[in-house]
């Protein structure tokens, strides 16, 4: 079932562009994903995530650049490499008059899997047992998403390409799928997923690519993301005006907001006790002094330049 193991990146995208008429959907994107990584492509709706995924899967032909999966160039003649790739693109789809089991049977046959037990195993794994004999037109959005994931996982692929895998899932389902993807990655499966929910991506991905207007704006590891998220010191005193003067004299950059004073200086964030001491010495002890982390969405919007938070 699996193609021969080749060294090098599992996904290798080099200078890929794709345009539809005047619209440049993907603009000279290059990225590499190594075996066992969970790579998340993060972007707003229309940023180019799905187009890039379709390029990876050979569904659309790029205007420029090249794509290779497991070292094999993706083109119209590519067939065997798909034995190692499972995918879910956009909203999950299924034949509505077929049952869950029959839909998976269709995938099993087209994926040329001789072992019929993979269908039952996958149904069990995705928690679709109670719905196995139900026609898919009656499934809820969450269960349709599970079926979409089941189709992607049926053949135990070495590479999973998932477009918004958490769509439609309830909170428990999101956690369950996240744990499953993490466990698959631990077993060596490479996961490439897209999302517009940074908080979800931050919990799961080992590496994140931020795409905006078709361009890959930034790539960073999950650890680097935590570091880059802007932190600030938030202070409230009985006399914010005097406190601001005291801190400015002490060398901090201070601004006021609705809740009190904000200090962005790294030294203040890393040593808030120094700020507290300065205020106490000036006779204005802080009533509140907290280090606030920027929320991830604000960071993301700042990174793509939608607004400067």
């Amino acid at each position: 079932m699996q193609a021969s193991v080749r060294s090098g990146p599992v996904i290798d995208v080099v200078d890929v562009s794709k345009s539809y008429g005047d619209v440049l959907a993907v603009d000279r994107v290059s990225l590499r994903v190594e075996a066992g990584e969970i790579y998340a492509l993060l972007g707003l709706n229309g940023a180019g995530k799905t187009t890039l995924i379709r390029v990876l899967l050979g569904m659309v032909r790029p205007n420029g650049g090249r794509v290779a999966l497991f070292g094999a160039a993706i083109n119209r003649r590519t067939h065997e490499v798909w034995s190692d790739v499972g995918y879910l693109v956009e909203t999950p789809a299924a034949y509505p008059e077929l049952t869950v089991l029959e839909n998976l049977e269709v995938v099993r046959r087209l994926r040329r899997i001789a072992d019929r037990s993979v269908v039952d195993d996958t149904i069990e794994r995705l928690g679709l047992g109670p719905y196995a004999h139900r026609r898919t037109r009656t499934l809820s959005l969450g269960n349709a998403q599970r079926l979409g994931l089941a189709k992607a996982l049926l053949h135990r692929p070495r590479l999973l390409i998932l477009d918004e895998p958490a769509n439609g899932l309830d909170p428990a389902g999101v956690v369950e799928i996240r744990d499953m993807l993490r466990s698959l990655a631990d077993e060596g499966t490479t996961v490439f997923l897209s999302s517009h929910v940074l908080a979800e991506v931050a919990r799961l991905a080992s590496r994140i690519g931020i795409i905006h207007c078709g361009q890959l704006r930034e790539e960073l590891t999950a650890a680097a993301l935590a570091e880059r998220v802007r932190r600030r010191l938030s202070i409230a005193t009985r006399d914010d005006t005097t406190a601001a003067t005291v801190l400015t004299v002490a060398g901090y950059t201070v601004r006021a907001d609705d809740s009190g004073l904000i200090v962005d200086d790294r030294s203040a964030v890393e040593s808030p006790d120094d700020v507290a001491v300065a205020l106490v010495r000036a006779g204005i002890p802080p009533m509140r002094l907290t280090v606030d982390g920027e929320d991830l969405e604000s960071y993301f919007l700042r990174a793509v330049g939608v607004h400067d938070a």
């Binding site: 379709r54 899967l57 050979g58 569904m59 659309v60 032909r61 119209r76 067939h79 065997e80 798909w82 034995s83 790739v85 995918y87 693109v89 956009e90 909203t91 789809a93 299924a94 034949y95 509505p96 008059e97 077929l98 029959e102 049977e105 269709v106 995938v107 046959r109 087209l110 994926r111 040329r112 189709k151």
Partner: protein, 259 residues
């Protein structure tokens, strides 16, 4: 190929379309039998008024050659509609149900999947033609139509199957339409246009060289005073069939798939 065909058969079996197509061709056979019943007795035709007049206008004669010719004619005319719907559904449903994307990155090549779809629709259409023939034999025997002999029966079967195969070849362009326009609606519109043009061109006397009119002319629909189908007519049907099939395969293999 075998696995792709099995999946196409499963999808077709679970839909209502096979039963609807069986019913449509069953009704056509029954209408033919009714016409034979009416035409067998001139007094009966007169007493039935409009229905009797319609039966007489069909130009059929109440005997086995007339009935078998009538069945071939209904296959030629109804075939574009029913075979067309079968082909449009088989290809267009992948876009209407958004399942096409799940067929594009598989170890089974896209060309195999398209070939399986054509194979299943071909067998489906042939079975409908055979159903028409078998039901026709039963109805003709029940009506005790005159003029039965083995050669007439075989000629009738050969003509019916030829008309069915030609009609199936001609609706291959609807597979391309349902694929390229990604759904049913535009392809159904094209089908109506084809049926309309086939009637007009046949009426103008050029049916023997207009591919979509050829099955009708071959079945005897246009009457004996019009030119018969020659090599050019057969060749044009084969060319349209091949072009529609190859273009559909190429489209599935090469076109950007965004749905």
């Amino acid at each position: 190929m075998r696995e792709a065909i099995i999946t196409e058969v499963l999808k077709a079996r679970r839909s209502r379309l096979p039963w609807l197509s069986v019913a449509a061709f069953g009704v056509a056979t029954a209408v033919g039998a009714l016409f034979m019943f009416i035409l067998a007795d001139p007094d009966r035709a007169r007493s039935l008024g409009l229905l009797g007049a319609k039966a007489q206008l069909s130009g059929a004669t109440a005997d086995w050659p007339g009935y078998l010719s009538f069945l071939a004619q209904t296959t030629a005319v109804g075939g574009i509609g029913v075979f067309g719907v079968i082909v449009i559904w088989t290809f267009g449903r992948e876009f209407s149900d958004h399942t096409a994307k799940d067929l594009l990155a598989l170890p089974t090549p896209r060309t195999t999947i398209v070939a399986a779809k054509f194979a299943v629709t071909g067998v489906w259409c042939l079975l409908l033609a055979l159903q028409t023939y078998v039901l026709g034999l039963a109805a003709g025997a029940a009506l005790q139509l005159p003029g039965w002999d083995g050669a007439t029966a075989l000629r009738g079967l050969a003509r019916l199957l030829t008309v069915a195969i030609m009609t199936w070849l001609l609706v291959s362009v609807l597979a391309l339409a349902a694929s390229a326009w990604q759904g049913y609606l535009a392809a159904v519109g094209l089908m109506f246009l084809i049926v309309f043009l086939a009637q007009i061109v046949a009426t103008l006397g050029y049916g023997h060289i207009f591919p979509w009119s050829v099955p009708g002319v071959l079945s005897g629909l246009s009457g004996g005073d019009r030119p018969a189908v020659g090599v050019l007519g057969y060749a044009l049907v084969a060319i349209v069939g091949a072009a529609g099939t190859v273009a559909t395969v190429l489209w599935w293999r090469n076109a950007d798939q965004n749905r």
